[in-house]
Symmetry: C2
Subunit: 286 residues, 2 copies
């Protein structure tokens, strides 16, 4: 029987747990609920919620069905439209993400041009850019991407005062590398840098690297749509060649179930603990 070492920080993180609970509670109360985009980036969880009455939409339809703001947050204009509509609005924005939204709102009011380092198409970044105002800049993470971006956007200093934040699910080393590349390319009169990388994400990353050293192979469990799971995988992959990204027990391979094999299990923040348990059982059983 293979031995499975499970990370201490595993399954839903605080923000995801809260979002899924709020969604379930709303569905219990109303039997139906709308969300612009998936509440969290996990297909299994979303299937379960849609089966219970959740409807994922692109634009909010008219009516009185409650609207849920997903964990990544929502653009402030869409938020305003929702609250004007008279329907119940359940705000499931992750409290850590809310904190960054409040931070950029304050910075924008103080006259800073906000620069967000993250994936321009990620819902968290899109919503955050809304709070940061129309002049917000979005720079992709990573040294070479930032260098290319800066060559176009830093030709002249983008503003006298610039404030930089990160997508919460980035990794600190990547954020730092990106910042270093940006600073080499240009420097406004005043630059303010905030470390807004989520500590939960960081803890999982640290634990994953620790587990990588103790195990024969390491499985990163989660959805390919989840940025934090992808980042987690990218990070461990650099240190451990025997690392695999899987989304559920059906992807467990027979050769991972050999006796005397030590298998590490880590997960992204939107992976339910049930998936982890099923994977563990499958590896240990055979």
């Amino acid at each position: 029987m293979a031995r499975v070492l499970t990370a201490r920080e595993i399954g839903f993180c605080f923000g995801v747990k809260r979002a899924v609970s709020l969604c379930e509670e709303t569905l219990r109360r109303h039997g139906a609920c709308f969300s612009i985009g998936p509440v969290i980036h996990n297909e299994r969880v979303m299937e379960n919620l849609t089966a219970r009455g959740l409807k994922i939409v692109r634009e909010m339809p008219d009516g009185r069905t409650p609207a849920l703001v997903r964990s990544h947050g929502l653009h402030p204009e869409k938020l305003r439209a929702l609250s004007k509509s008279g329907r119940e609005v359940v705000d499931a924005t992750c409290p850590f993400v809310s904190r960054v939204q409040k931070l950029v709102t304050r910075l924008r009011r103080q006259g800073y041009r906000v620069l967000i380092i993250g994936e321009p198409d990620h819902p968290e970044v899109k919503a955050l850019a809304g709070f940061a105002g129309n002049s917000a800049l979005i720079c992709p993470a990573g040294r070479s991407a930032a260098r290319r971006w800066a060559a176009v956007n830093f030709r002249t200093p983008p503003a006298k005062r610039v404030a930089v934040v990160s997508q919460t699910t980035s990794t600190e080393p990547v954020y730092r590398e990106t910042l270093a590349a940006l600073l080499k390319a240009g420097l406004p009169g005043e630059t303010r840098i905030f470390d807004t990388v989520c500590r939960v994400t960081e803890k999982r990353q640290a634990e994953a690297l620790e587990l990588a050293g103790k195990t024969d192979l390491l499985l990163v469990v989660g959805s390919r749509k989840s940025a934090n799971t992808r980042n987690l995988y990218r990070l461990v992959r650099k240190r451990k060649p025997a690392a695999y990204f899987i989304s559920g027990p059906e992807e467990v391979r027979d050769d991972w179930c050999r006796p005397n094999l030590t298998v590490g299990l880590v997960s992204g923040t939107s992976t339910p603990v049930e998936t982890i348990k099923e994977i563990k059982k499958k590896i240990e059983r055979t």
Copy 2:
């Protein structure tokens, strides 16, 4: 006759001109004046001023002889002691340096730990560290120096909120490079970066590089004790092998005075324009 191209920004900068004038005026009024350390970093100018009654001291002696605060500024504790002594205090701190002193005082009050990038033994940096409070950090400029410094000082984050400023006479590329190295090494929760590199210094640097492209050889005129002159020389030296550091006309070499040779003249901010004129004359005469 060799052709001499003189930089437009040459001779004393605004702050140095002001400091020397204030010193001369004080000497005219009182016949004597004390200064802790040389008023500016130029031996010729200092000889001239001491001949007229200026005394350079390490510690201020008792008495009523006026005290002059040199262009680099003075540690706030020494400033307080001076103003308590009852003697006349002539503050010749460069207004651009004063501005940085005020900035770090404000930042310290706002709870930031101040990090100064510069030469730890330079009087501007020492005085600035005084205004920044007892917890101020001083990191030497340059990528590898900063990396070594950070390896010791950034083992744990030095504070939750750090504000970074530069010695005014640094160069922007060096400051940026240093910042990039520091950011790669560590990142406090909030970092504030201020571009406090003096524009006058920067303009001279830009002009020196421009002149380097147009001339056969480039002479950087100033004292070896002057940080900004040394930086200017270091910068042009990288681009132009035929660049030389000289302090006065006596160091002009015969082979620089050949006909059809184009010689560029640039200077640090504490070099009097008279020295430039003498050098120009000597090169053109022969």
